[in-house]
Amino acid sequence: MKIKVDERGYYGNFGGAYIPEMLYPNVEELRDNYEAITSDPDFKKQFDQLLKDYVGRPTPLYLAERLSEHYGAKIYLKREDLCHTGAHKVNNTIGQILLAQRLGKKKIIAETGAGQHGVATATVCALMGVECIVYMGEVDMARQKPNVERMRILGAEVRPATSGSKTLKDATNEAMRHWINNPTDTHYIIGSVVGPHPYPEMVARFQSVISAEIRTQLKEKEGTELPNYVVACVGGGSNAAGAFYNYYDEEEVALVAVEAAGLGNTTGKSAATTTLGKPGILHGSKTLLMQTEDGQVVEPYSISAGLDYPGIGPVHAHLFETGRGTFYSVTDEEAMKAGIQLSRLEGIIPAIESAHAFAALNQMSLKPDDLVVINLSGRGDKDLETYIKWGKY
């Protein structure tokens, strides 16, 4: 089975571009130009150079020996937490700022939930000297104050999204409205593999450097490019898409996606979209979506603001529907414990998003010969307050 986006932007039954006419010229411009721009040798050279010298790539592929011993399998960590700004998000924002410049755009907007994508966007805008506005839910601004200030220090304007539930989905709505009102000089840097075509595929390609490096590094260390499992957490799904991308068509590699179950999937306080969602349309694409019977979008919950999204990228909906991906969900409590476990076994405090991926190891039946790669998508510095509040360490 080939996992590939078609001409209209669909992965099987999911994807597409469900946008009002006001956004059509912008999205069309992007759709018609992104492949030519990003495959241009000059673009590639500048992108690769920045990933190397500015982001610090390639990130290490680290054999976690004590974690391996604990679970009885050979476990490698892809250290996206060591990227500049502390997470994989910057791979995409570097790509999109270079694209925006080549499209002649003078201003950048972005949405952010926990603030990581907002920080990564503010960072590249500072780097390029471009005006930056980040929309963030009013509720998230209060929850993630340090990241709000990081963005401001970097020179970005942070605008509160005060509509709806005042979280990530509303910040996304506000960014789209801003784009409608400023259609010619502004580029919208979406932070995940969501939104109308071509965003999901474009963001996945910028993030695909993760699995390209895994293949090379694993070959050096193990003599094979193919692990038995690649494990990643999924909110919108950009780090998972990046970690899976170069393995989509390698069927012997199991792609393990881990969603946030919040307080539990039966409590009404969860963000596990594949368990609780059904096909629907939000933010420009058809995907699995948490919604009421009437088609109203349901507000998700997770202790991790980065996984707190009511949908998933269309490619993940497709991986789920076709069975190419294996989906687990992990509660707040399980994720927090896994975060502490990694801290104690390996001296690495993970972002709570990434901790969800580690918690899934408890649900997998691993064998001693198994080669496992976990995408450690971000570091836990931003989550210290949440760890402290949780307190069980």
Binding site: I19, P20, G284
Partner: protein
């Protein structure tokens, strides 16, 4: 049952086309959100609008994430949903609507609630209630042509696409070929209710499109709020659409019917 439905829908078809035949100028289309300000206001608002002289009425199906709408219509969506409005309930409220008003009615809605309701069932229910047309702003053209169009046509529903100042001439032609009823001309690059007044640049765009000789009538919406903006829009189109300004009227204190009457008359007088 199916036969009866078909007879009903065919007998009452083309209210929108008839409207533009008999009144090619100064057509006033008024938008309101179903379930706002109160859950059961739908039919009384329809009656009051018809009595005041509105030519066409657009009922908005509330959605949790209306990306093309500004703060006023967003807030009306939130209120409506909090009041308990659903598409199912709206269909209930509209059951006997054709015994109460004869004005052409279009339903406007973001696509997700309609997909969840079921597109066939939605169109059949619209036809059975005498709904004349649909505006689904986030429905892609190709999907309309391949999937929705035959279902709309079977049920006598006209379909309106939108154009904006950024829409290319080629796409305007494509939209004109695939629209029925009327084209919704978004007056500026904005969400609903965002701008006040009409600039010279906007008038130039109205004139440019007016001179294209399109097949379909055009109604201008977004930023139309009073007599002055309505008159300006009507100079280069067949009429105009008022949304946010009318939602504000519905939110006012006092007798709703009287407020509606005063507002509509203030615009078309």
């Amino acid at each position: 049952m199916t036969n009866q439905k078909e007879i009903v829908s065919k007998a009452e078809m083309n209210r929108i086309e008839k409207l533009f035949q008999t009144k090619p100028n100064r057509v006033l289309n008024v938008y309101f959100t179903a379930g706002y300000p109160k859950l059961d206001d739908t039919v009384s608002i329809l009656k009051a609008l018809e009595a005041s002289g509105a030519d066409l009425i657009e009922i908005g199906i509330p959605f949790s994430d209306p990306v093309a709408d500004g703060p006023t219509i967003q807030a009306s969506n939130d209120v409506a949903l909090n009041n308990g409005m659903t598409l199912k309930l709206l269909m209930e409220q509209l059951k006997d609507v054709r015994q109460k008003v004869s004005v052409p009615i279009v339903l406007m809605g973001y696509i997700n609630p309609i997909v969840q309701y079921g597109i066939e069932r939605f169109c059949e229910d619209c036809a059975a209630r005498g709904i004349d047309g649909l505006i689904l702003p986030d429905l892609p053209m190709f999907e309309y042509l391949e999937v929705y169009k035959p279902i709309f046509e079977k049920n006598g529903l006209l379909n309106t696409f939108l154009i904006t100042p950024q829409t290319s001439e080629a796409r305007i032609r494509e939209i004109d070929n695939n629209t029925s009823g009327f084209i919704y001309m978004v007056s500026s690059a904005s969400t609903t209710g965002a701008k006040t007044g009409i600039s010279e640049e906007q008038e130039a765009y109205f004139k440019r499109v007016n001179s294209m000789g399109l097949k379909n009538p055009r109604l201008i919406g977004f930023g139309i709020s009073n007599k002055e903006t309505f008159d300006k829009a009507c100079k280069n189109a067949n009429g105009a659409i008022i949304g946010s300004a009318f939602i504000k009227v519905l939110g006012q204190e006092g007798d709703m019917e009287a407020n509606i009457n005063e507002f509509v008359n203030g615009v078309i007088r």
